[in-house]
Symmetry: D3
Amino acid sequence: MSEKPISRFPPPELAGLPEDVRERIEAVQEKSGFVPNVFLALARRPDEFRAFFAYHDALMEKKGGLTKAEREMIVVATSGPNHCLYCVVAHGAILRIRAKDPLIADHVAVNPLKADVTPRQRAMLDFALKVAARSHEVDEADYEALGREGFSDEDAWDIAAIAAFFAMSNRLANAFSIRPNDQFYTMGRERRN
Amino acid sequence: MSEKPISRFPPPELAGLPEDVRERIEAVQEKSGFVPNVFLALARRPDEFRAFFAYHDALMEKKGGLTKAEREMIVVATSGPNHCLYCVVAHGAILRIRAKDPLIADHVAVNPLKADVTPRQRAMLDFALKVAARSHEVDEADYEALGREGFSDEDAWDIAAIAAFFAMSNRLANAFSIRPNDQFYTMGRERRN
Amino acid sequence: MSEKPISRFPPPELAGLPEDVRERIEAVQEKSGFVPNVFLALARRPDEFRAFFAYHDALMEKKGGLTKAEREMIVVATSGPNHCLYCVVAHGAILRIRAKDPLIADHVAVNPLKADVTPRQRAMLDFALKVAARSHEVDEADYEALGREGFSDEDAWDIAAIAAFFAMSNRLANAFSIRPNDQFYTMGRERRN
Amino acid sequence: MSEKPISRFPPPELAGLPEDVRERIEAVQEKSGFVPNVFLALARRPDEFRAFFAYHDALMEKKGGLTKAEREMIVVATSGPNHCLYCVVAHGAILRIRAKDPLIADHVAVNPLKADVTPRQRAMLDFALKVAARSHEVDEADYEALGREGFSDEDAWDIAAIAAFFAMSNRLANAFSIRPNDQFYTMGRERRN
Amino acid sequence: MSEKPISRFPPPELAGLPEDVRERIEAVQEKSGFVPNVFLALARRPDEFRAFFAYHDALMEKKGGLTKAEREMIVVATSGPNHCLYCVVAHGAILRIRAKDPLIADHVAVNPLKADVTPRQRAMLDFALKVAARSHEVDEADYEALGREGFSDEDAWDIAAIAAFFAMSNRLANAFSIRPNDQFYTMGRERRN
Amino acid sequence: MSEKPISRFPPPELAGLPEDVRERIEAVQEKSGFVPNVFLALARRPDEFRAFFAYHDALMEKKGGLTKAEREMIVVATSGPNHCLYCVVAHGAILRIRAKDPLIADHVAVNPLKADVTPRQRAMLDFALKVAARSHEVDEADYEALGREGFSDEDAWDIAAIAAFFAMSNRLANAFSIRPNDQFYTMGRERRN
């Protein structure tokens, strides 16, 4: 494993963290087999940690018209133009797993316009990319384009909110140089039959 | 008062909101004399509302090396290039009040490079604007530039985190067309003696 | 009042100015109650002063299909992307007064795409913003779009010429750091009934 | 000669123009042997014509620290990035003649950074290009850089004002599709010995 | 003639070059009356020289649906935004000669959107400019737009390949500061009758 | 394996290709175990195929101061901003293998500024990225920066030429939608001990 620091800011001692923060970290470790570095990097600010993951879960784990794979697709597509190594690599891994597609993450990260996605997903990504890069130009025509692909207004909110949340995450991970765990690079790359 | 909708998404009935959300809204109304539209616009998603304001308070109300006026200065400076009417107008009002300066918000919103700020504040804004616009280029030299103006590493985290949080807020307010309350436009414009 | 210099270049003594220049300055002072700083800043070059204000008046005071409020709207909308503090603040004040609308200037300065304007005014601003930012792409389709909203060819000339004139003004005010008078910040902000 | 229209707006009949405008046009024809199209294109608005050329002459014909060739160099360098065919071709011709250099105009129009100019001229062009493209970033360091090459503050004003004036001219010529006269393309291209 | 170096890298002695490279250079000298500097600048790397000119000839000299003038038009139009002095000046000369039009090269170099070209040529240039600047956005709609103007799929390949080849050439000429020969500036500028 | 077309243009029948082209394709198949799609996609134009691969080999296989891994690093770093899926994925695989580093390709593709590279390699990538994106700004200071890291002038030529060649390749692969072979995605991702 790399011996590089996981972030520009040293991570806290797990033992000294508030119990709820430590439990959240232990839960993800149990589930994934390792602790994604963003958990350790943000834990040194427990109040921000709690709000960040509460917001993350409210958007990424909720029920709704978007599949979990589609939500990750939004994350990877909008993180590419922000050059966020952590989000492209870590959420790329989650996207490959959730979409059961070993190629999709690289497609979406490098050029969503030529990615193997459905027309519905392309409309979703077009909206997300507009929110990420030029949100002041979003107008009713954008919502109508989503509607034509079967997205409800609540779905549109979800797409915009995920794009907005990762606009924040990308900037945190970049400014703090949060490093993706080595495990993410290879997860989900095996081909299913 | 304007009769324009406060957002593209209709606000919820206050009566139907979870109690903690309603109490938060009533508290801000009592303190400010009106409910800033962002509270109503986000309340239709209670979980997101709770996370958004918990995060906001963790960054904007905490103790630390930045004054409350300086935090608002970061908000206004980074919201300008994102063309976010809600954040420029609402946080511009708060900035004028906290800085006790009727001119500062327009300065910072239109062109932070020519604003009447101290060299220390200019360094703070330079860092915040870099996080907002090109976070992937942030490097150790940026932290050193902050250090030369007396900012600690914890202050640097605060500046970056505020810039990142409002990168999210700007995109939400723009994508949902959240309208600033009329009251904000004139707050804090009177000259103190 | 601020004691900051009104410009990077020191203003001339009024007494030493050519009579026509001094009279123009005294006239604006009588009408407005103060001398907008751009008059003092440019007066140190009397020939340029005369040409500048002759051009300004030919475009902004002439009869034609655009109201005076609409002309100021063009100024504010195109000055925003150029980050010109003087023009946004000073012409923002004039726009509020001429449009009898205390909110319109901030709308148009921060994001004309989401401003409370009529479809006709939106077409006018779209054309003006294109002339300001990418005039080499202006083509006959742009004139036709104006025509569909009832603008004549002479109106189109006016819109383009105002956008072009303030492309110049923005650059002068920025390069010379011309400071808006404190009075402009609050003019026209009271609500009419 | 081309039979293409000289501008999107039809030029006026010379006979119907105010006497001072007609005289100005006849004077340039006598001096140059033809009427540059910008004179005809703008003459349909006599007040604007008068102000435009008064301003032009105040900047381009005055005495001062810049040679006439250097003033034209500023025009060509700043008109290139604005893709203004009229200004690049017409002022390119004047630049070749005034600089007695058949190559300089293409150099400066295509890439001022690699043009055959003196370090002093390069500093002048750097400042002019900054005024043209990002005037809101101009600060005291830019004036000091000019000073180090021997430019006075009055020279700096001239450079900025010429760049600003042609920011306007470029937009007018582009928006109105003003066509350079065929004569300009070959003027000054012969090599001197 | 200029005594400036033809490139940042000194050209090789002709006598020491491999025979095929020297013969190619002598052939162009015989045909043109001088050796275009790009031949000398690249000859110091014979393998690269051979591949470069083999590629060039395969694209520029082959038979196909594009005239030789149209191919040069693509070169000039895409070299303008890359600020490549060598390609704009040298291929501008060739374009003037092949198109028998003394004005076309300046038109296309300064602003292809307002150049005197046919609708078919405009479609060709739109495609070439998209390949040059944002090739990742090219999609089937772009090929269809070419088809509507009568271009075959093989023509589309040619347009894209020429734009791509000169994306390379522009970067070589810029990075190595290859200087256009003085002869190119005036070639083809005389008017035909 | 994917059943998606390997390019927008159908590949030729191997049997019908000129013998040298077919042999080159068979050689790469023997060496790699599969035929990279760019060989098939370009083979329909044998002359262009020959020149492309001759140029490629002259730059990528030659001796010189850059290691083969460093050359691939330049390809991946410059292909990222061009959103070229083929080059990022295929050359990312080759980079991982040549550098014996399973993480380096994602680092360099997503954000070269935060990649785990040596200061020497960072200087190399800075120069390559400048040639790729703003070659007209390259000047002697850039060559000096390379020299300070021990690069010779011939190395500088190599870096620039590789960046330029892949500026072409990226545009070809994007315009023709050349698809990376599935094999590339996983090559070289295993960790060495």
